[in-house]
Symmetry: C2
Subunit: 120 residues, 2 copies
């Protein structure tokens, strides 16, 4: 069995933005920590929902028809196929839950596309 | 699309122990809040891992060969098939992530077995 995971200690292990780090697996799903700051690209995941949990800070997620504001202790599940654009003025620390093979930029390959399975 | 979820507000909606309340779904998985206090039964889930995230308080999980202590901001994934017994001296608030059909007492039916799909 693995050890327990402490979010703060894990967040202290990296400083790059928009590059999800895997901290745990549950069946074929992964828990990933991400630090974000600034504007991400608009993208969608055609085959899966994606859960965002804000651990520290504040995150905006822009959709075509609305923007939601998530603060620490809040979560949101982006439905599959729905375009979304995360944005955060200040650094924000997030926990993502999604299937193992999920690419961070979904249907859009580009400079923000991060490699999968980066365990910390 | 659903609204965002605030853990504190959701926890304020119930007070019973050991009865998971569903707050969100991601594909066929559910996010469930639970308040726990005292000793639960030892059980296992034969078909799935189970993720525990402590939102507030402190939780012990006893295994056959060790006990782990989870505090606020910590998580642990119990592997499928592994017997575990949650315990908390004081009230502890937990977020569970697991497949929709997962029964809280796993392979053991009894007085602690709670109905599934109790949305709040």
């Amino acid at each position: 069995m693995k050890n327990k995971i402490n979010f703060k200690k894990k967040f202290n292990l990296f400083s790059d933005y928009w590059t999800p780090k895997v901290i745990a697996e549950m069946n074929n799903y992964q828990f990933k920590l991400v630090k974000v700051k600034g504007e991400f690209i608009s993208h969608k995941h055609d085959h899966t929902d994606e859960a965002f949990i804000v651990i520290d800070g504040s995150l905006k997620i822009e959709f075509s028809n609305k923007t939601i504001n998530l603060n620490s202790g809040e979560m949101f599940v982006v439905p599959k196929g729905v375009k979304h654009k995360p944005y955060s003025k200040e650094e924000c620390k997030i926990l993502l839950v999604e299937p193992r093979e999920t690419i961070n930029t979904g249907n859009v390959q580009g400079k923000y596309t991060a490699p999968n399975n980066q365990w910390i």
